[in-house]
Symmetry: C2
Subunit: 224 residues, 2 copies
């Protein structure tokens, strides 16, 4: 069935092209026309694969998620426990041009998450995947005796996402564009500190996962 194969290959080409354009320019400035050119196809043909900006974002994400996942798995083959955790978080930091590009995709998710439930679902699936990966390695580090047994693993894993998002914003949007060296210093500081904080050593209040507040009053626009 050669037609089927073509179709899937093309879809991958489109995802790769979308990723490259967004990583270069950001979602707001990326156009379907430019993605078509990058993918080496006509705009008319590309419309079969991508019709809107959110589809552009999702296609780019699908491509980049595979890329990132493969790198994390490579780290996991060589390292474990705290060292694996440290390298995985480092891998996600926007510490070089390529990784700043991948972070721009996340900015795109934030831009569209308020308006598009599908984008929001993907964004949260991404956070959950990271959370699980962080928890896995922190538990392993605990088992290896690298971390105290009473560490609140879910809390620490989740605060890794807080740390990453914060660095990402400051690096990509703030004028204080942070050097790679400075990001490393922040990462090491955060790991050393976060995993030793008295708060990390107590289990989270109520449940391991942060709970929704009793009155979720955010507007529908932002929480579809």
């Amino acid at each position: 069935m050669p037609k089927k194969v073509d179709h899937e290959l093309r879809r991958e080409d489109v995802g790769r092209a979308a990723y490259l354009v967004i990583a270069e320019k950001g979602l707001a400035a990326a156009t379907l026309r430019e993605v078509a050119r990058k993918a080496g196809m006509s705009s008319a043909l590309m419309v079969h694969y991508i019709k809107s900006k959110d589809q552009l974002l999702l296609a780019a994400h699908e491509y980049s998620a595979k890329l990132v996942r493969r790198r994390m798995q490579a780290i996991e083959k060589k390292h474990q426990g705290l060292e694996a955790f440290r390298r995985i978080v480092w891998e996600s930091l926007p510490h070089d041009k390529e990784r700043r590009g991948i972070f721009k995709l996340w900015l795109g998710f934030w831009e569209m998450a308020g308006q598009d439930p599908q984008v929001r679902a993907k964004l949260n699936a991404g956070y959950r995947e990271s959370q699980e990966r962080y928890e896995f390695h922190l538990r392993k580090a605990q088992a290896l005796g690298e971390l105290p047994p009473n560490l609140d693993i879910a809390f620490c894993a989740w605060s890794a996402s807080v740390f990453l998002d914060g660095i990402g914003v400051q690096t990509l949007l703030g004028d204080n564009m942070i050097s790679s060296q400075m990001q490393k210093k922040h990462l090491d500081g955060w790991i050393d500190a976060a995993l030793q904080s008295p708060n990390s050593l107590r289990k989270a209040v109520g449940a391991a996962r942060p709970k929704k507040p009793s009155k979720p009053k955010l507007s529908r626009a932002r929480r579809p």
Copy 2:
């Protein structure tokens, strides 16, 4: 000169209305028409004050920045050193409906910073103002003997912004919407830990402020 006064009052009304609408719906879903209605004026009249989405954002920001500044100054009258610092960071956390609203303005800045140099300049002026405020209180805490003398103040102040942005993203965009209680736990954990990390106790590499890397290769779209 009654005309002049009217004009300024109206400008403030528009800023307040813009703030209320963005805080409720987010920038993407806010319309000029709705802001006009909220300000109690016709769309035709409002066009004299606001013509575009970035102007909407900037007007809302001007209003909310005054509001927030006044609150911080009230904290500074009652508290000093580490306690003032802790309360000021807490004030900025999206821990209730109103403060989540103010944080939505920041999301608006992130959305537009890549495309509009004026928005980006305001965003960075905001970060600088916070940075200075944090540094001031951390130095005071040092002088009071609450913090070690070799603490890297600029690094710690800056990592407070990283912390705040990260919590903001996770609270407003992630599904793990974090309770106020959980934000408090994160804040206390971060303060206890960050200010004791071995990395915080060393001066930043090179300079106190993070420096731009030698090859600032981000695309123009994101760094105008």
